[in-house]
Subunit: 630 residues, 2 copies
């Protein structure tokens, strides 16, 4: 066994000879950037070996200077002795604080979204003064408690497990027949989860989780008041097994889904324990967890075999898995607390989208609404109260900051907004301080601004000349923030721009196809909702300049933030909302873009700014004075 | 550690210094007779020490000759070294074969009782040809299977656990989408218990169990045809902790209910494994177990704390416990198979009586029916379709053969019927062969016969004189079967007669009180059903001569055998029957005899043959020419 020490921080792991540094980092609890999942392709998991012996292979992803300076790719380097390494800033995965952003967006929207649903959480506590038994009224303890419960809530089918029944007689008699019961909705029945002494009805908490491919975001919710108490986020540790969903499915097939399950359970545990500690709440009082995520993430979370998801016709093991004991999948809350998941729509349109529809209310809209959720993929929903169709565009994670040189999550230090003014480029950094990189909303602003200012042409090609367009590592790059004096240089390379254009083209093509299949024109869209956790706000005009969404009047475009989490929270707080989500999931028609005969044409045509066919973007064309097709 | 060896059989146990021989017997799996539960009171657990050292206390329950011969009481003797003991015949608890009797009674009645219920077992298998997914129809595997199930059976709420969902994708794809699902009714919902490859719908079995205080009887049932395939019975191993229910509750409070749970689970496992082996059935195809028993037995079985059952106002932890996984309480059938229990009526009137009502159909009767279940206690139900009342008479186990010198269960070797003829006494032995003792029905016949023949007077006193009435161990005894030449002498002692009269008095008093409380006369009783596993048949006239039941025309009295098991089987085979049982359990009003102000008077008056008040037994009085009150 060799000891591997990671600086800064000094975290250590004891690992066997031959372990890769990427595996050692995972063992030490050090989050390393990795997009490819350890295949030596992405070049993100850079480390500097300070002491000790590692065996590393040749790579084109490091410059000769870097190799000389001790740089290695963690995934390609095997431990041959005790090693001390340094994690350079670009390889660090921060414990992101996206949530201050998300929370803001939510605070404004929560009340609005919750409006149709009364507060009736999936799990609730009820204080009971149980009448003492007499010879005339000597039904069993279980039946006596059930009778009291039914006097208070509607619960035609009430059930209790042996654990609760075994404890019941003692708890009732030792506490003068005053107890607090915890009741959980469970697929049309109500389960008596636990019985506590005295009145503990005020202490009931739940956690809503958005299990994203890149980031796991959790909100701690007071189930009594419905208020959000705290929020936390972190990168999904499964990233070490691949940035993309498909890579992770392959990893699950090769190594067992248990590995992925353990990773995400630990992520959720980390978030929950941070929040309960900060709020001074007993972990045992967290009685419900509701997770929303894409179908693969939910399979990993529950340990369901995901293999069929990546093979035609992309079938889930279960789209609406039942509530299970959270402990059964390694989530540490109350040992009898339940884990619910948002029902999914299909193999590639998951419960996160069901949650998004629920939170945004598209399914109740009178006129067609377009909903675009930009995460690691781009999922698109079009519809209203009468019909709903959805598709998934393989946009890749560019808008989440992955696959982009200076890309990062919308966390502290991220440039979330960029404005090109005559006086220069102004940018807004999340949490203030020096910028560390660019998140999705910043990228959209920057590229739209670069286009409008003439730094790139309609095909996205950087125009050489001036101080801003320079050469970096053999390709052209736009310097958004010059480096120096400890400040990091933030650039957008030609390849970054191409990545973003590919991503936006995939999404726009999906939108375009759904509209055409439904026989709708752009003008028929009453509203466009953009969802995602890639920034605190989005300038609707820049989204249109980029050609990410159709050219509609900006007031019709609205940025909703993380609707997966918003919907999860709605359902956690209201059984009726979860029922409605189930109804939504069953109603949405999945449209498979891959089998659309004209998808490729639509995609290629959309790779221009804003689009090959300028007639589709009349407002943008007019405003920018474009006028001529490429 | 010392080794204790039990002969005949040579079973061994390694036990620590100071262990009692009774405990060592339990550890070695040797069933010893014990009525008092190891308190040194009953004198039933006699052993002969052949070799080795034990420390034993003084007792009046062994004669000086016996002590000289090596006899000890197992419960009062502690191991001080390696020991070899012999279990004399009178201490052996045979693996009883009551069931050949029960089965006969059932075969005649099964079709009749099942009539109102269609065959729809609680757990069933269904072979499905699941349509393959396509891009147009790509719901999840769970949803696809549920959809097929719903095409075949009504199941508004269908649920599946993670274990099943995890296996589902592989089983479906490896078997060409042809699978057999096992579906279980579970409190208003339907659970998908397991998915098997191919068509296994013909292999579904269940076990109905009567968990009696003295004996555990199990029937193996084919859930597809509804046919009973096999039957087995054995003494309840909990007897080592006390013959009476109250003693076992105390044992549970002192030593933990887990001990009692393990014992009865092992008994059920023994019976099940015997039957499945004999029938060549896979244990994994036994998917349901339904147990009926008194409330305490069900508490022991499920590990529920029974303490409140023996304290005013005699409250159960649960009267209608939910179905649980059989494995959860140590019952070895299919690991996901369910254990159901018959809902109970109250602390002292259990699910065995609910089963009895269900099987006998009292709850549908147009005119009042009296139902008497004679087991270790005597439970009495009076009622019809409009009302039902029940009480429990602490009759003790005399009719089950305990507390009676030559008493035994209605198993092989038991005298089950006695007839006094001018040519002598004729008796019927279960299974033929030499008689080993007397079971309940034999005792009733014998004492009624002794009374009619003048061997005892109306107070039950043996009349000295003649060859039949002799002295044994300082008291008078009636020699029913003379011993000699290896044959066992079978006697009924004065104390035995008193025990039986006390038992019958308790039952008659209960009947009498229920009738009075309901304002009914004996003539109002349309029918008397006697239930219990104490014999293959019962002569109704002798039951009346004894004064066990009211004096009605003999054709109104009917012996039903083990109705607890019959009802359990009905429910196992029909969800509607289980629902009906739940309705019955809720409808029955419990009447507490202990708090009845005139119970003692009724009891004392009923201790005579047939009763102090001869006007209550006009037919018997006339037939026997009694005429004079005592």
């Amino acid at each position: 066994m060799h000891r591997v020490t990671f600086h800064p921080g000094g975290r250590e792991a004891e690992v066997p000879e031959g372990t890769t540094l990427l595996e050692a980092a995972a063992a030490a609890g050090v989050a390393l950037a990795s997009v490819c999942g350890g295949e030596g392709i992405c070049g993100r998991c850079r480390l500097i070996v300070r002491r000790g012996q590692v065996e590393t292979g040749p790579t084109l992803l490091l410059s000769p200077e870097e190799v000389k300076g001790g740089y290695v790719l963690a995934c390609q380097s095997r431990v041959r002795g005790d090693v001390v390494v340094e994690v350079p800033p670009e390889s660090r995965v921060e414990r992101a604080v996206t949530v201050d952003l998300d929370a803001q967006v939510f605070l404004a929207r929560e009340a609005e979204a919750r409006a149709p649903f009364a507060l009736a959480p999936l799990v609730r506590k009820l204080f009971l003064r149980v009448p003492r038994p007499t010879l005339e009224d000597n039904v069993g303890d279980q039946e006596r408690v059930f009778r009291e419960v039914r006097r208070r809530v509607e619960a035609p089918i009430l059930q209790a497990g042996l654990k609760v029944l075994r404890a019941l007689p003692r708890v009732l008699r030792e506490n003068d027949w005053r107890v607090t019961v915890t009741l959980a909705r469970r697929g049309g029945t109500m389960e008596l989860l636990q019985v506590e002494p005295g009145d503990r009805s005020g202490e009931a908490y739940g956690v809503a989780v958005d299990v994203g491919t890149s980031t796991v975001v959790a909100h701690l919710v007071d189930l009594v008041t419905g208020r959000t108490l705290d929020a936390e986020a972190k990168y999904n540790s499964q990233r070490a097994l691949g940035e993309e969903v498909t890579r992770r499915i392959i990893a699950a097939e090769r190594q067992g889904v248990e590995r992925l399950q353990a990773l995400v359970a630990q992520d959720i545990n980390d978030l929950v324990s941070l929040m309960v500690e900060r709020q001074g709440i007993r972990l045992a009082d967290v009685v419900a967890v509701l997770c929303a995520g894409n179908t693969a993430m939910i399979h990993f979370l529950l340990g369901l075999p995901p293999g069929a998801l990546r093979r035609h016709p992309y079938v889930a093991a279960a789209l609406a898995p039942p509530p299970v004991r959270a402990a059964e999948v390694g989530i540490k809350v109350n040992p009898r607390g339940l884990l619910y998941v948002m029902p999914g729509i299909g193999g590639w349109v998951g419960g996160d989208i069901t949650a998004g529809i629920l939170a945004s209310g598209i399914h109740r809209a009178e006129e067609p609404v377009l909903f675009v959720d930009i995460g690691t993929n781009g999922e698109i929903v079009l519809g209203c109260r009468d019909w709903l169709v959805a598709c998934s565009a393989s946009a890749g994670p560019a808008f989440e900051g992955a696959g982009v040189t200076c890309g990062m999550r919308a966390s502290r230090g991220a440039i979330a907004g960029v404005e090109f003014t005559p006086a220069g480029i102004r940018y807004e950094v999340v949490g203030g301080g020096p910028p560390q990189g660019l998140c999705g909303s910043g990228l959209i602003d920057a590229i739209a601004g670069m286009f409008q200012a003439g730094y790139i042409d309609r095909s996205g090609r950087l125009q050489p000349g001036g101080d801003r367009v320079v050469e970096r590592r053999g390709e052209l790059a736009f310097v958004l923030v010059p480096g120096g004096e400890g400040a990091r240089e933030i650039v957008i390379t030609q390849r970054d721009i191409e990545n973003v254009l590919r991503a936006k083209a995939a999404i726009y093509a999906g939108i375009s196809i759904l509209l055409r299949e439904m026989g709708l024109a752009v003008d028929d869209i009453a509203r466009i909702y953009i969802a995602g956790a890639f920034g605190s706000h989005l300038d609707p005009r820049n989204a249109a300049v980029l050609g990410l969404v159709p050219d509609v009047p900006p007031e019709r475009i609205r940025f909703l933030g993380n609707t997966s989490l918003a919907g999860a929270k709605l359902a956690l707080l209201s059984g009726a909302a979860l029922d409605e989500a189930q109804g939504i999931a069953e109603r949405v028609t999945y449209y498979d873009l891959i089998s659309c005969p004209y998808y490729y044409d639509e995609f290629m045509a959309a790779k221009f700014l804003p689009h090959t066919d300028l007639s589709r973007f009349p407002t943008v064309t007019k405003a920018l004075g474009l006028g001529e097709p490429v």
